[in-house]
Amino acid sequence: MITNKLTNLKPKCSCSGPSSTLLNTSMSINIQQTTAELGIVDHFTHLRLRLGISRYSKVDPGIYKVGNPDQDSLVFISANYVMSFNKLRNALKGMNAWIMVLDTKGINVWCAAGKGTFGTNELIKRITDVKLSEIVKHKIIIVPQLGAPGVSAHEVGKATNFKVIYGPVRAEDLKTFVNNGFKATKEMRQVNFNLTDRIVLIPVEIKMILKYAIAASLLFYFINHFGSNSNFINDVLIMLLLAIVSGTILSPILLPFVPFRAFSLKGFLISLIAILAYIAYAGLTSPYLVAGSILLFPALSAFISLNFTGASTYTSVSGVRKEMRRYIPFIIGFLTVGFILITISLVRGI
């Protein structure tokens, strides 16, 4: 566990008697100490989350100390997803501050804000529960900007008197933001989707597709085995792998460099090039196999890329809906016809 458990605000009186009951109720807020430095265990946890090995790693909701905060120290709000919390406390290195962790069911700030769990109600409830107005004298809370889709700053203000100030998108800009008197530059307010952002998403993309890829390989293998038992199966499996690599690895990496705005078209194009290159390289001449592969595999990559909209940081619901309406019929058509052609090729060895 990342926290040194339960350091109470004031030492609890152990004597019994009427006064202690009184004292205990006013001191029943558990304040936990945390550190700004991330240890090896934290980095290991992050790696596991990135690789999609574990998805949930929760921090207990509540209030935490970084350093030695007092009644004038700043209050930062976080989600109880361990990576959100760790990035925040790491960004506060050298500061004395409070972190108030909301219960977002172990989900990161942005996703939780979209669902509303990182939201106005939870924020108001947590401010009341931890008795924030008794912990600090001021009336300012710093909420990550990516929490804004769930939080209505003026509603929180009305209900609690605490003024919500939206901090920068990235925790590493927090110090500059604070030092500049809560002013964020345009860059600090913008969500990017640069190469690193895209690359870290690849493992989860691969993990998602893995079981379907294995199922498809086995399906082709058996069709071939009980059919012509030809060498075409090798080509089919290699092209299947190419299609998956195109959809899960190449499309995320090449995303901004490929023409078209629709994700499925980007994936289709990348995969089509890869498949055509393989057909030429392997010298495939079977008309069924060639035609089937040109239809099936790029369409498969198109579908995988379409799913990458969810991981991207800039697609809108209306846009994705339009893209799906427009291209899913083609994808399904291509997949079906392509599959039939490849099956004929494998069954009859032509």
Binding site: R55, Y56, K105, I107, N108, W110, C111, A112, A113, G114, K115, T120, Q145, L146, A148, P149, G150, V151, S152, A153, H154, Y166, V169, A184, K186, R189, Q190, V191, N192, F193, N194, L201, V204, E205, M208, L255, P256, R261, A262, F263, L306, N307, F308, T309, G310, A311, S312, T313, Y314, T315, S316, V317, S318, G319, V320, R321, K322, E323, M324
Partner: protein, 98 residues
Amino acid sequence: MNNLYLKNIVTLKLDKEACVKCGMCINVCPHEVFELKNSKLEMINRDRCMECGACQINCPVGAISVKAGVGCAYAMIKGALTGTEPSCGCGDGDSGCC
């Protein structure tokens, strides 16, 4: 980098008459959609809007309307198949969303 998605499709609407130019929408928008130009609020990058809804919920006078949701195909397919409102798959531990 300027990532752009489909043109002219988002549901974002701004009521300039109602706007009191508090700047909140500029603060919360992750894609620099709004800008104060000559003391007027303008949508300078409307096509970059991802319909996250942050501006709408944080506008104190309700001058912005947008149909917010998650731009995730996986969520929509799942929503269509299960007959529920599309929601990000984060909750079921099995998706690339977020």
